[in-house]
Symmetry: C2
Subunit: 466 residues, 2 copies
């Protein structure tokens, strides 16, 4: 008798007639008039539950088996046999059923065997992984995360954990959360009456990071190929379906590289991830395609086959202006592209993913490399059908004098960025990188419409239960 996962029991790798034990939680129970109960048991190892056929000859049949309801914890031992029913390869003919835990009050158990609204399930985030959808999302998310690490590892990248608590504002772009151990009821003050941060834990003001990029650049200029994969934070009070206050970000950085190398890496990376999902999570993706997003599988297949288009920002503006399309936001050289513009480009104009490159310098961050035209920087956005912008990246300004001039222009204090200037003083090399919000990726692959469903416990304005 060996304990196996449901995934293993259904895989066909175990001989018919084998005695095995499976363990999990009841999804449904159905009793037949012939004195049998059919208990669907899920252990989360794969999408499908296994059907356990329980005869009324078991001594705890009346006392316990007949009381089983959705959510009960069960250990089932029996013989694995080919299933008679449709849609399932094997079933378990039980010889013993042990219940580890009943459901206290089946009537009020939140995860009933029926469809729940996503809003409701967000209120019970600790129980939602027991549903079909969140089981699938969790496994797909895991598959994507593994593929991220594997992709970079296979290509000689090193994982760098950049600081979560930081004194620097990576881009001047995001609102930041303060991190402090000061006693709010009794704040220390300096002579002028201002809060005295020299008394705080780190001896200065600290915040949660908005990006690991600046820190990982330093490692890039020593180890050549590096990446981060860690949490980042934005304190913007935007209560939308597209923003999280806490989310995971992937930021590779490559040395001796230009914007073209960066775009190549982004394309190879996204295709690798989607191929992994298609190859490894067929069961969950079939459910997503059936219940959430009809073209979930075909659009990934199309994505990995199509070569990305590349287009200059200036050309994108001309195309949008010539499109004859009415947009809500103005289209003009020097203005940033809005989602409606991005989606027209990728969905209607080219019909596949497109990398837009070389944006006006004044709408992009200070660290992006100034092009020879003096008015654009070597920035890129990767746009994809069905989602819009999914990756943003750039070649970094490796020339110290140009960087300094741009920092002055952006009103940034050189002294504050002393260490960031340093590795441009010491053996600077062209380098480039990009950032990808991990939950944006999960939203896309799983066809979700709210990013709060793409992370186990969402953090958004007003939402920090658990």
């Amino acid at each position: 008798m060996s304990v196996v996962s449901v995934q293993k029991a259904l895989s066909g790798d175990i001989g018919t007639g084998s005695e095995v034990t499976v363990r999990g939680w009841v999804r449904t129970r159905r009793d037949s008039k012939a004195g049998l109960s059919f208990v669907n048991l899920s252990d989360g190892s794969c999408f499908a539950p296994i059907q356990v056929v329980v005869p009324d000859s078991l001594e705890n049949y009346e006392s316990e088996v007949k009381r089983l309801s959705a959510g009960c914890g069960v250990i089932a031992t029996g013989t694995l046999v080919p299933s008679q029913g449709a849609g399932q390869s094997f079933e378990l003919q039980a010889t013993a059923i042990e219940i580890t835990g009943f459901v206290e009050d089946p009537e009020t158990y939140p995860i009933q065997p029926k469809a729940h609204s996503l809003e409701f399930l967000r209120e019970v985030a600790h129980l939602r992984p027991r549903t079909n959808l969140f089981g699938a999302v969790t496994r797909i998310r895991h598959c994507l995360a593994q593929a991220v690490h594997r992709f970079f590892h296979e290509r000689g990248f090193y994982w760098i954990s950049t600081p979560i608590i930081t004194t620097s504002d990576a881009e001047g772009a995001g609102e930041m959360f303060r991190v402090s151990t000061l006693d709010l009821a009794n704040l220390p003050r300096d002579a002028g009456g201002a809060v005295d941060f020299s008394r705080d834990f780190f001896g200065k003001e600290t915040f949660l990071t908005v990006s690991g990029q600046l820190n990982v650049e330093a490692y890039c200029l020593a180890l050549s190929k590096v990446y981060t994969f860690g949490p980042t934070f934005r304190a913007e009070n935007s209560n939308t379906t597209r923003h999280l206050a806490e989310f995971w970000m992937i930021e590779p950085e490559i040395a001796f590289a230009d914007l073209n190398d960066d775009a190549n890496l982004a394309e190879e990376f996204l295709k690798y991830l989607f191929r992994a999902v298609l190859a490894e999570r067929g069961d969950d993706m079939a459910f997503i395609a059936e219940r959430v997003q009809k073209d979930a599988i075909t659009r990934l297949e199309k994505f990995v086959e199509a070569p990305f288009a590349r287009i200059e920002y200036g050309e994108a503006i001309r195309l949008l202006q010539a499109s004859g399309r009415k947009f809500d936001y103005p289209v003009e050289w020097g203005l940033d592209l809005q989602t409606e513009h991005e989606r027209w480009l990728t969905e209607e104009h080219v019909g596949r993913p497109v990398v837009v490159v070389n944006y006006p310098e004044h709408i992009k961050a200070f660290y992006m490399r100034l092009n020879d035209d003096g008015r654009t920087v070597a920035a890129m956005d990767v746009l994809a059908p069905g989602i819009g912008e999914i990756i943003g990246g750039s070649q970094r300004e490796e020339r110290l004098d140009v960087l300094d001039a741009r920092m002055d222009k952006f009103g940034l204090d050189r002294g504050h960025y002393g260490w960031y200037r340093d590795f441009r003083r010491y053996g600077t090399v062209p380098h480039a990188g990009f950032g990808l919000g991990f939950e944006r990726l999960v939203v896309y692959v799983c066809g979700l419409s709210n990013i709060r469903d793409a992370i186990p416990y969402p953090r958004a304005p007003g939402q920090a239960e658990y």
Copy 2:
């Protein structure tokens, strides 16, 4: 002509006589009287640099090559040939050298080709990956992180990212950092004059997590085998060589499992990680063994071969009392084991890793499962020679009534832990897990004496540069 990493160039996988380009940063330059310069170039892809032999016939030889100093960024093209020198398989006979960046003032460049104190290097954390030691530590750390994800993936575990910002104090054990967007200069007050956290970003008080365990348990009771690998925080003002304010933690959790399963998993896990380092980072470990910790390799080899011992806490107390050894801290049933006790047990008494199990209930956390004796809990600590405690874990209390009684005893508010109680009301199952500080692992493998050297940018009291 193809661009290759130094690792690839030295690997023997490229035919002798091939024309290749390597890129990296100068470690040393030596000029011979015969009109040749020997430039050691490192790109971080492996421990060894490659020797580039530059003839004075190159047109930029006098103007540029002769100015090369440690840290300069270089692109070298030439012919790969077997090396005449000892200790190196191949070298590059350069036909072209391009310098992407000189070092501004070689005299003051912090990373000179000599030994630096670790204290000094901590002050230039953005440049220390350019040293032999921190290059090695970074690659070993990466190898360990990859092995963590691979180990769990191969065994059907799913990665869960638990919240970084949280409202719950996982263990009541650690001092926490506050996370807030309130304006400190102008704190909102409620009618009673207390700080009004309903006006804070999340509408309540929030902190940085000290552990993802409670959150990951909920996922375990849906997906059976899960793990976290993410940052955790402790605001203890302990300025020691063993504490970080921000560090990464690995927390697996398994359903239908007891303390014995937990100990088995811990043993298998640690051995897997160390085997990965031995197999994949021989170059860096050879350096560690030569310069940092003489037995760095042999102790890992010994570790993976030895079966862990298992010992009851009560028996450990008896052994310590009978040892005839004078300890600084008292040894008595009911007191926690101190590092000196742990090291005696693992290093002197059993001479290999040992798992101590079943600790007195009052010295362990409320969520650990009460044993039938009523006075111990199913807790374990894994102790290893050379480091002491490396893993702490337990079987979790899955019986709601017992958990409630223990929460009462610890003075914890049941209402605050409502969701944690929930999955014990709904199909509870025996489950267990453990926690492992990732940097502790890096410290051990790399033979470091200060944990601040085990993470790219350390965070400790008073230390949050970058």
